[in-house]
Subunit: 342 residues, 4 copies
């Protein structure tokens, strides 16, 4: 059994990690921390976990965390970087669900996250935890940066096209729609149901933190710089990301076959039949990306539709998928595939 700890268990990714780990056959969830709820039973804060998680939240403490084989950080950005060195020194595996180790360039990190990086020397050993791209590296990793929710959907959507150099790398457009849980479990006016329950709007059009992360990934796939316009939207639903991706073909290809071939052996990427329109509700609660690819009017314009659950394949599920790889367990373990429909 692997002993696991979660730092920052009171956000939505934290509670989702608890839900998933609680039924993982080879993991014992041993410790969950929360500064705000320290001392309270997990089940008191989250009645959905009554009888499922019998721990109480504790203050985060490096010593106690260091007793675990793996430590997940479901914390705000800029937290894990203050703990990583100590835990790695103790021989532990660190899996960060926030942004601290996603960008390889500490200068870029500082620009987008507003403070200097606390341990730039660790960035080189950090592995970007997108198994469909980095599986072999992840297996050997000690420090994993789980991708953001938008970056997961966008990168999985573009991967076959960029990997095979089939599209122009300028003029890429990622028009993405997210459910409100993506904004986290914090008390903000803009996340109130009365504000968002019947509205839809774009946000951060001038620049969003996931933009440099996505570009870093797409560039690695393409082997050269890409130009991407990324427009996120807030949609009135709780979970789900729908990425609508646009690109221009530069050579002829059977797109359906390309996608099916590329993802044939991926357990968590599901290419839908020709003509499909994936729906976020079909992956709700599941660690799965469903993708369809279209070419309207058989022109040069490709439209890729990719959906994930932002809290699962976009966060907690993907973190567990990474853990499975690191510890040599079956990649799909604990990650049951059926979503909750309706």
């Amino acid at each position: 059994m692997i002993k696991a700890a979660i730092v920052g268990g009171t956000g939505y990714t934290g509670v989702e990690l608890m839900r998933i780990l609680s039924r993982h056959p080879q993991v014992e969830l041993a410790l969950v921390t929360s500064r705000t709820d320290a001392g309270k039973a997990v089940a008191e804060v989250y009645p959905s976990l009554r009888g499922v998680v019998d721990l109480a939240f504790r203050e985060p403490d490096v010593e106690a965390l260091g007793d675990n084989d793996v430590v997940f950080f479901a914390t705000p950005n800029g937290t894990a970087m203050h703990y990583a060195r100590s835990l790695l020194d103790r021989g532990r595996v660190v899996i960060d669900l926030a942004a601290d180790f996603r960008l390889r360039d500490p200068g870029l990190w500082q620009r987008w996250y507003g403070e200097p990086h606390a341990c730039p020397e660790l960035l080189e050993m950090a592995v970007y935890g997108l198994p469909e791209v980095n599986r072999e590296q992840i297996k050997k990793a000690r420090l994993i940066a789980c991708p953001g929710c938008y970056p997961t959907a966008v990168q999985l959507g573009y991967l076959p096209l960029l990997h095979h150099r089939l599209i122009e790398v300028t003029g890429l457009i990622a028009d993405c729609k997210s459910g409100v849980s993506g904004a986290g479990r914090s008390a903000r006016l803009s996340s109130l149901m009365a504000e968002t329950g019947e509205g839809l709007k774009a946000y951060s059009v001038p620049g969003h933190r996931h933009q440099p992360e996505i570009c870093q990934g797409l560039q690695a796939m393409a082997g050269k710089a890409v130009e991407l316009t990324f427009v996120p939207h807030l949609a009135p639903m709780i979970r789900g990301i729908h990425a609508t991706l646009y690109a221009r073909l530069q050579e002829e290809v059977d797109l359906q076959t390309l996608y099916e071939d590329h993802y044939r052996r991926e357990p968590f990427v599901d290419v839908l039949p020709p003509g499909s329109h994936p729906d976020t509700v079909d992956v709700r609660g599941a660690n799965r990306c469903q993708i369809a690819v279209h070419r309207p009017g058989d022109g040069r314009q490709v439209v890729v539709l990719a959906v994930i659950d932002n809290l699962v394949k976009g966060a907690a599920g993907q973190a567990v998928q990474n853990m499975n790889l690191v510890f040599g367990m079956p990649e799909t373990q604990g990650l049951e595939r059926a979503g909750l429909y309706p």
Copy 2:
């Protein structure tokens, strides 16, 4: 391994049964029927089940159904009663999620369901599948009538009070709120999102089919006739039932202790701490009833709050719980407890 068939797999209870059975370690889902979708792959109709259920829908056929150990009917009312005799004769277990075998009095059935009962002689052998009341009978049953969604929540809420004869049996009021999946997966104006997405209303106040079913159950608990006013409401959410139950105490009792003691060994009934207010979202996707009991101002009026997921503890989950009992498997098998929050 138990071989299982589902008749009527294209409704919400059917798809939920597939989701649950697909991860049950001792069940092989061998056959799913649907008149409307016969010939189509299950995963084509329900993309959430891609890679999870690899069957195609077939026309219902008694011969083929009779090859299974257990046959679930997730059909409209008035269907199972035409198949039950043949399947029982073949030695199979029949679990009906509709109303055909819930009422013990065929005259009452005819009054509320508008046609004569097709096999009144089977009503006596049918067991009402509410394990918290009938567990021992269920273990020996061959024909099980799963309770309706409202009746499950209302009966579990009143059970400790009636069982111990603590309340007046007149003037009972069950004010219930249901999500829209309770209306089923059929194309009706009144179930459109544009009609229901921002509205709440009562319905069937003059009389609802679940009323006689609830009364039959409450009377069995009380050992005498009860008088109940039952008012169902449609609430703008997908899953969930919230039952708010009112009764008047006729003797002093510590309600919290009463409820905790009564349900202490029940795996799927969870009495919340004093002062709690259960939320339907905390049981979403889980086979669980969460209950709180209040006595405002320490008066004679008791208020019981009980929540379930109408498709799980109110339908498909409870059906599997019954199956587990009939076949001597652990009662909780395949019924993982954590709901999907948020």
Copy 3:
């Protein structure tokens, strides 16, 4: 033209007041205050009011407020009571949408609102602004306490029964469901869409501040003490209150005729035909209460269903209705009747 000011214009009742007053033909909205948003244009905070309200929020100031014929308080509880005396001394009309002047007993106020009342001597001159009960008094009032949202729906629902002494006054039950805008426009975890968007729960069952207000009103109608159990629920919609009211008849009466006769001349109370089930969506945005009355199985139990928009007939619309009465304008002026459906 009447000059009007709004104190506390950044909450939901404030913005709704602006929407309504902006199209009132005899009112000039001259001043809107907000401590948090002072200096900002109203239209900057509320883009829905661009081109409709051209004011900027100002700090509240008694001098400036005193230049208006009527001052609406759309503030938190415990605010208006600190301004009322000064404004009344200046000869202005004060209409409070909060609770400061609703309870006639200052001791009761202190018990439920946690601080001593600042001007108990004004309570006697305050008129409870429910026109269907107090129309004549309102016409002569200078200080009006607008009823709470739940109290409006519950009192209008019970009024014909209590006024005519037709029901038992013990064992009354008001099971009420509210949309989330009732919790106000403040950043709270419990009001996040991810928390409430797919859940329904009761709250404050041990005791809610609207309980003594409702009882005070019902007692005045009945001419004696009443015993009421009030259970509010939070439903996943933005606007709307649905009150389901239970009572026991103590003499025979034609309920439909009773209600139709009682409300025949009321412009904002609409008794639906026999057998109806009012829907909150049908009064959304309208200053209207729709009511249906049932007697299931022709027994002694009466079930009244009453719906309002909590921000209109439950707050801002009712406040304008009161203003119309005070200033001798047509009662319905500025209060167009059609709601926004769907």
Copy 4:
């Protein structure tokens, strides 16, 4: 007073027309037809219109329709074209909210709507009712084709850029999100709340009927052929369209000034301040398009965000705006500007 008739009053655009016309000071709504609800009172079908519209639905009949000055068709596609000739011969004004007269090319109509056009000879006299483009023609029109909901938002968003020839006309992308009322008031599985309430998906990516309509309009603005990819999405809300429009600048321009100047005198197009993100909820119930224009990273890529209420500026409100122009009334009459927020 203008006498008005509505054909097909039982859909969402029909009921919205009734809501708007009922408070128009110069219109008498004299006749509303419905094949399905003929004989029923309007207020019986739509309780929100009780006391507002006192008509009963009648069977459609050319004679009776011909007694009105203006006849609105809120019917399915392919209906108005069978009535238009007779009504025009009687000297009446016909305003069609469906697609019958939107496309100038009857061959294109047949291709997208699946049947030959019934009166191709009328297409030339039909005026496309987008006042911001065709105001002068509309004033003289007798037969008006109201634009579709998507086409309204997309064309208003692109108009300043195309009119001034500032963008490349290839590679245009319109990524649009619509609320579910856009699918109409018909009983379809795909419009059930249980299906759509927590999901978001694209649809008709291979080709949507609004595509040729949009292209026809954009081409007229640009004076040459345009190449547009149009991807509509269904979002889990009732009303609203959010169009996210992409284009590439071909010369330098101050976009904010361009948009503000272009729309300065338009009563129903509202250009938001720099950096804004319009929200569909801010135009809910209002005949208004709110627009923001962005240029992320000051590159060549322009992102235009445009929101409307699909039932108002995208249908019924725009139809009334057209009527006002035709009959020489103030363009804004009866079209109050404040939306219903929250």
